[in-house]
């Protein structure tokens, strides 16, 4: 071995990172930054400064010269959402996931800290919450999604952290409150009830991970005997990818997690600690001493009520943007794209998907401006470091067709609980995410 290359500390990180960068889906890497920027006066309006909007703004800034890029987002804080699970596992503080929106935006981009009130793709305008009417040549919808807690009777985010109610998704502070509730529960014991909604959702692996983590903590504390674990699946499976579903089924069996199928939570009674579910047999009540509420997810009203959302098919109610699943271009309005959670495509509501989607939109947008045809396509790539206990995870990667798409075939097995996959989640993913935000990964 070459003695002269790297010192110890560097190597440690390199070891974890070598794969970590890939864990987040190293897929489409930075576009040819060396290519000369395309000169244009185009007005590009991006709705949303989350992972997708910010990454795209940075990349377009590099690729276009003279474009007027405007970002619309009222939120001052940027949230690293893949970190919520680690916060809710007591491994990171809530500040781990919080940065400032301005930390990531290029100077040349015009950020308006307002939300969108109305989208008119015929007139090519967007009206802001401040009443300003912005016109655009190209619109990119990257508004993320809405956590619809109101759709669960009796549920409100104020309940998180009380009465054994947790909800990892609600935000960094709520993830921390969820940890406090889970920590208490695994000290005291009782019934832990885990759910997921029947809508499309971001990171469908997250509810599974949190079930594993709760079980792991109960076991580590020597209280596994006092804890009953129940997972209520919304349909007949735990996970949409069959081969992964089967693996999770085996692991749940191994860990003693009981499961019920076709249970969709409709109401929660914090006082009685009872959750009500819609099932084929009618309403069913299940008790809990601790639960991780995962609310139904939909597009924000401004998108759902706009002409951009799906008008036919299964997503009318959820309101995702009707885009071509390969190009992410709107099927009815050619100057509109959607990227990230709000895109109406069958998979891909994760940060790893964003990493693959953004270069596709960038390619088609820049090509159009340059008078060419875009060539990049999105294959549905999604990555989920499925934590199965503190210290181990399965690096599950898949595409639209439910094929596994391992980044290291034959080296890092996707359906094996590995320490290496855990290292990636813990150390490398956030760094890769940040590099992605800057348009560099």
């Amino acid at each position: 071995m070459d003695k002269t290359s790297i010192d110890r500390r560097n190597f440690l990180k390199l070891t974890a990172l070598g794969g970590g960068a890939v864990g987040l889906g190293s897929g489409l890497t930075a576009a040819p930054a060396s290519a000369a920027p395309v000169e244009t006066k185009a007005k590009i309006l991006i709705l949303g400064a989350g992972a997708a909007g910010t990454a795209l703004a940075n990349r377009l800034t590099d690729r276009l010269d003279g474009a007027e890029i405007t970002l619309l987002d009222p939120r001052q804080d940027h949230y690293y959402q893949p970190g919520y699970t680690l916060i809710a596992a007591g491994l990171k503080p809530s500040g781990y996931s919080v940065t400032k929106t301005t930390d990531w935006l290029p100077r040349s981009v015009n950020w308006i800290a307002e939300s969108a009130e109305e989208i008119d793709p015929e007139a090519k305008t967007v009206t802001t919450s401040g009443g300003t009417k912005l016109d655009y040549d190209y619109l990119v919808v990257a508004t993320g999604l809405k956590l619809d807690y109101d759709a669960i009777d009796g549920m409100s985010v104020d309940l998180i952290g009380t009465n054994g109610i947790g909800s990892v998704y609600a935000g960094p502070d709520y993830a921390a409150k969820t940890w406090a509730a889970m920590d208490r529960f695994t000290d005291e014991g009782g019934v832990a009830l885990f759910t997921r909604p029947a809508t499309e959702m971001k990171c469908a692996g997250a509810p599974l991970k949190y079930t594993f983590l709760t079980e792991d903590y109960a076991r580590r504390k020597g209280n596994r005997g006092k804890v009953e674990m129940v997972y209520a699946a919304h349909n007949a499976s735990f996970f949409s990818v069959p081969i992964v579903n089967e693996k999770v089924r085996m692991l749940y069996e191994d860990r003693g997690v009981k499961s019920v199928y076709n249970h969709v939570m409709t109401a929660i009674d914090p006082g009685r600690k009872i959750a009500t579910f819609n099932t084929p047999e009618g309403a069913v009540e299940l008790p809990f001493d601790f639960t991780n509420v995962v609310p139904p997810m939909r597009a924000h009203d401004v998108v759902r009520n706009s002409p951009l959302s799906w008008k036919t098919g299964k997503w009318v109610e959820e309101g995702w943007v009707e885009v071509d699943k390969a190009t992410l271009r709107h099927t009815r309005y050619a100057d509109v794209f959607a990227v990230g959670d709000v895109a109406g495509v069958p998979k891909g509501k994760t940060a790893a998907s964003v990493k693959w989607q953004v270069p596709v939109v960038e390619d088609h947008l820049v090509a159009e401006i340059a008078g060419r045809e875009g060539t990049e396509t999105y294959n549905g790539y999604t990555s989920c470091p499925l934590i199965t206990r503190v210290g181990r995870a399965m690096l599950v990667e898949f595409d639209y067709d439910n094929n596994l798409t391992p980044s290291f075939p034959g080296v890092i097995a996707p359906l094996e609980e590995l320490w290496v996959s855990w290292l990636m989640k813990e150390i490398a993913l956030k760094a890769t995410y940040n590099a992605m935000l800057r348009g560099r990964a």
């Binding site: 440690l12 190293s26 890769t432």
Partner: protein, 119 residues
């Protein structure tokens, strides 16, 4: 994985440590390596005496490296789940050992100065 460019890896490293710390660490690594090469060239030979102490320090480096990784990642040896885990675990130890050996050898050479020829 379609592509993993060096530029992207550097971007990721900069995000892990912050640009300043990352490049400072690169400089430290380069400096230690340069110092090692310097003493080798200056002395025109490996001193087996110094190399012995360097070798004795290798297990310390290996254990320290593995300990560092485990503490940083809230994990332990019982989390090793497959062949790649064992390979990475051992590789961390090996690199820690070699890094420590280079460091110890170089420090000895720099502190004790050029050896006097005994013949």
């Amino acid at each position: 994985m379609k592509e993993l460019t060096p530029g992207m890896m550097i971007a990721v490293f900069e995000e892990v440590f912050g640009p300043f710390v990352f490049w400072a660490m690169v400089l430290v690594a380069v400096a230690i390596t340069a110092a090692y090469l310097y003493v080798l060239i200056r002395d025109r030979s490996m001193s087996m005496r110094k190399f012995l102490l360097a070798q004795l320090s290798m297990p310390v480096g290996a254990v320290a490296a593995i300990w560092f990784v485990q503490v940083m990642t809230h994990s332990g040896i019982s989390d090793l789940g497959g062949p790649i885990d064992v390979i990475v675990y051992l590789a961390v130890g090996v690199v820690g050992a070699i890094g420590m050996a280079i460091l110890v050898y170089t420090l000895q050479s720099l502190i004790r100065g050029k050896p006097q020829p005994r013949w």
